[in-house]
Symmetry: C7
Subunit: 74 residues, 7 copies
């Protein structure tokens, strides 16, 4: 059996979407991660709550602390 | 006695339903998991709150962070 | 002195009731557990909030993540 | 100096009162505990919020997960 | 440099005031503590929220679980 | 590179301001700390929410549990 | 693969923006950090909620406890 983190490794360099606690959604290119699920996204976009077509803010590089993550769409 | 994670191993490749904190419900095929209950679902569907017949969003592959999970229906 | 987990061992195969954070109540037969209090219930029933006579949903097999549990009625 | 858990040992077999997060109050006879403050109560009574004279529910044997406990009245 | 727990040791046998999460305030004599900041208070008094002159309840001996504590006034 | 705790060491004996979860603000002289960011403040003042000019309460010596701290202004 | 903390090392001495739980936003120069994501910011500015052009408060040096951080914009 592969493990969940193996799927993250395959997604390096590809666009992912993070759903965070407190109803935040962030999209970007998965640049790196660690065992705590801390994640670096490049060309990240924070989306407006409940309107996922609307970009609220853009960040060239973002480090997301893993404990905020609900799920990562690969 | 078997242990709870033995039941997850038996469910690999089968459809499961995850109830998450914050009233989220996600269904999909259990592709892998680890000791923190991080889970990869394939062909995942996020269901609308309180209307479990309504699919809110679809994801080909989802990594759910284990600490968000209330229960897994096997 | 016996320890709390000894009482769970005695309850294997018997009906228990779990009270979870966020006012959820689940009943079922205790099939297995581990040191984190992750629990497998069989023939599980989720009860409606505040109306414990009303069954909201049924699940043949449920894995409950231990950190959601307030108490287990044995 | 004695340690807090020494006081719990002295209270074994005696009635105690648990105040839990989320304004729950449970009384019962202290049957066992472990280092995580998981506790088995016998002849337990859950009291109604804010009306501590009113018994809401009775349980012959209850395992309370330690992380829900605010304090134990000995 | 002394460490925070050294100050608790000096306060043994003396009155302290605990401010707990969820706006609870408890006063009593510091009888013992451990590294998790679990604390035994003797002759404890729980004070009414926002009216610290009013005693809501009295307990001869109380074990407070450390993770509920915001601060201890020594 | 110095580390965050080196800055706390430099601040020993000096006034600091702690912003705590739940919108509490406490000022005082930093007397000691440990690796969990448990902190002893001397001549501490708790400030009223949203009115940081108003002192709500004074404490000669306060032990703050580290997990409540959002930030320390040095 | 580089790891998330490598990106923080590259950002030392540069301006960063921290989004904290509870809708706080703090900007400043990244002076140091540790494995818990505890961070020292210099010339820090706390921004008003939802009005990120408005500076609410300024601090010459701030230690932010890592567990409050949602993300760091590098």
């Amino acid at each position: 059996m592969t493990r969940p983190f193996d799927e993250l490794t395959k997604a390096l360099g590809k666009p992912v979407m993070l759903r965070l606690k407190g109803d935040r959604t962030i999209r970007g290119v998965l640049a790196s991660f660690d065992v705590h699920l801390n994640i670096i996204l490049e060309n990240a976009e924070e989306l407006a709550n409940g309107q996922e077509q609307t970009i609220k803010e853009k960040y060239p590089r973002l480090m997301v602390r893993g404990d905020n993550i609900i799920f990562v769409a690969l």
